[in-house]
């Protein structure tokens, strides 16, 4: 027997079988610290310079509060519309065969792939009073561009893939037997969908809609072109931060940003926990 050199000479038990623990841990921690965590210190540094009263005055300013209302309201509408539209798209893409299906499926990712600024100027052009859509809708009394409807539209456009791509795999995994069992038990299509399919999809649908909502809250590029940006009426919160920055009011921008940051991280955490619970329920607890 030829003995090879022993790389671990004395006493150090080989703790990990696969190589690269130290290297990958080092790279990951370094990166996360430098790119994700270190920049946060700038925000906290800026906030630390504010007294509580000043902080409250900034974030409860009338114009800023109006921007919360516009943002949350439009995002909620966009998320709900996407919930329904996304479910329809996921259903059609999973359950039916038809010419052009692959194309439709590929189209679903367009909002993720298309730069938001491009989406923004395109939607603004389409829905302005002499755009293709605006010309049709305005005679009907529906003004989209430069109103909150336009904001909701832009939000819906950028976040539709979240719903489709979350619901789609769950629907694909639903076995035929579930349909067949419901039908043999005498349920009609509507009842079977409502009582059997929907409860299955519900967790994924809520997750997808939640992600769409979070994304809409923070969206900027796609919205500012179509929003009109009228103070108190069509100003979104992300724009408020931007405006404060252009006024060199760093403290104001930071205070508002901290609200946005806190809300989106809290929502993200809530979605993660909800998802974790749901996975546990499906796979029988444990870990």
């Amino acid at each position: 027997m030829s003995t090879r050199a022993l790389p671990f000479a004395i006493g150090s038990a080989p703790k990990r079988v696969l190589p690269g623990f130290g290297l990958s841990l080092g790279v990951s921690l370094l990166f996360i610290s430098l790119v994700l965590l270190l920049p946060m210190t700038g925000l906290f540094g800026q906030l630390a310079g504010l007294s509580l009263a000043e902080y409250w005055a900034i974030i409860s300013d009338g114009r800023v509060v109006a921007s919360y209302t516009v943002t949350i309201g439009a995002a909620a509408v966009a998320a709900l519309v996407n919930g329904a539209f996304g479910l329809l798209l996921a259903w059609v893409l999973v359950r039916y065969e038809f010419p052009g299906k692959r194309l439709l499926d590929a189209l679903m990712d367009l909002p993720f792939a298309l730069p938001t600024a491009v989406a923004g100027i395109t939607l603004a052009t389409l829905y302005s009073s002499n755009g293709w859509m605006g010309r049709l809708l305005e005679p009907l009394g529906l003004q989209v561009a430069y109103t909150w409807v336009g904001i909701a539209l832009a939000m819906a456009f950028t976040s539709i893939p979240f719903v489709v791509r979350t619901v789609q795999p769950v629907l694909e995994d639903l076995p035929v037997e579930v349909d067949e069992a419901a039908l043999t038990l005498g349920a009609n299509d509507g009842t079977a969908f409502r009582r059997v399919i929907l409860p299955h999809l519900w967790p994924a649908l809520v997750t997808g809609t939640g992600l769409a909502f979070v994304r809409s809250l923070g969206e900027f590029g796609a919205i500012i072109f179509i929003a009109g940006n009228m103070p108190y009426e069509t100003e979104i919160t992300a724009l408020m931060i931007f405006v404060r920055l252009q006024e060199y009011d760093y403290a104001g921008a930071s205070a508002i940003a901290s609200v946005v940051l806190f809300v989106s991280l809290a929502l993200l955490l809530a979605i993660n926990i909800w998802q974790g619970r749901f996975i546990k329920r499906l796979h029988g607890g444990g870990g």
Partner: protein, 275 residues
């Protein structure tokens, strides 16, 4: 086989609704981009694209993208290897942390970098003493682009590597393969398509990032203007055709991304069918 919603009327109605709404909502904007870009003919489009400032914006965008991708690649692979091949305390926390860029508004992302590295930030102030200016210059744009795009590669790799497990790597270790050989000859061939897709997504987002970049760029024409910022300026100047000429370039990259994704999925599906 009988499934819910198989009645011809229901089926036709739902397909029609889905196709019509998607055409209106997703396809029409895509068509509009190119229609606007070519509204005054090929020649005008070409003049707009070959404009000195547009070329500079394209150059900067490519430069930023080319630098972003390898950074995200190294980080993505390292993180995916770490969380799928080892058990250690804090593993779940790491996996949650990389989702932060997805949840944070791009404007907020730009802002936190500006606050840290800007002249008033503690680190920016320090660097300013050495005459190093990161904000309102390309390094700032690069940093926020990396922030915004860093989850993509890792997010593609983690579920796949989790599903594949580490048995093949373990087998390679028992056969005496050293670390890099295991990665290169056993792991990489199994994850290369997911890796490629992660890179494509990173590329699409890096090219198109607007909110975060607009906060830290300063938008100086010909110097710190990326293509999305450039098209915004043209649009604000009422040069719609010019704006859409740049938009069409970006939309083309988006379309290539979608095509690449469809191609990779098709490949994966075919491989699965063979296995």
């Amino acid at each position: 086989m009988q499934r819910i919603g198989d009645a011809p009327a229901v089926r036709r109605g739902l397909i029609l609704a889905a196709v019509a709404l998607s055409a209106l909502f997703l396809l029409l904007p895509l068509v509009a981009i190119f229609a606007q870009a070519f509204a005054q003919g090929m020649a005008v489009f070409w003049t707009n694209v070959s404009n000195e400032y547009t070329v500079a914006a394209i150059g900067l965008t490519l430069f930023i993208t080319v630098l972003t991708i390898p950074v995200c690649l190294v980080f993505g692979v390292a993180l995916a290897w770490l969380v799928t091949r080892f058990q250690f305390p804090g593993r779940r926390v790491l996996q949650t942390l990389i989702d932060i860029p997805f949840a944070v508004s791009p404007v907020v992302a730009g802002l936190i970098y500006l606050l840290l590295y800007g002249r008033n930030g503690w680190l920016g102030g320090l660097l300013d003493g050495y005459d190093i200016q990161l904000m309102f210059a390309w390094p700032g744009i690069l940093m926020v682009t990396i922030f915004v795009t860093c989850p993509f590669v890792a997010r593609e790799l983690i579920p796949l590597m989790q599903a594949q497990g580490s048995r093949e790597e373990e087998a390679a270790v028992t056969l005496g393969a050293p670390g890099w050989t295991i990665f290169r000859r056993v792991t990489l061939p199994n994850i290369r398509w997911a890796l490629l897709y992660g890179v494509i997504l990173t590329n699409a987002r890096a090219v198109g990032e607007f909110g975060a970049v607009s906060v830290v760029s300063g938008a100086i024409r010909g110097q710190t203007n990326t293509l999305p910022l450039h098209l915004e300026q043209l649009y604000q100047d009422y040069n719609t055709v010019g704006a859409f000429a740049s938009a069409a370039l970006l939309a083309l990259i988006a379309l290539l991304t979608l095509a690449a994704k469809a191609g990779l999925e098709w490949r994966a599906a075919r491989q699965e069918a063979h296995a």
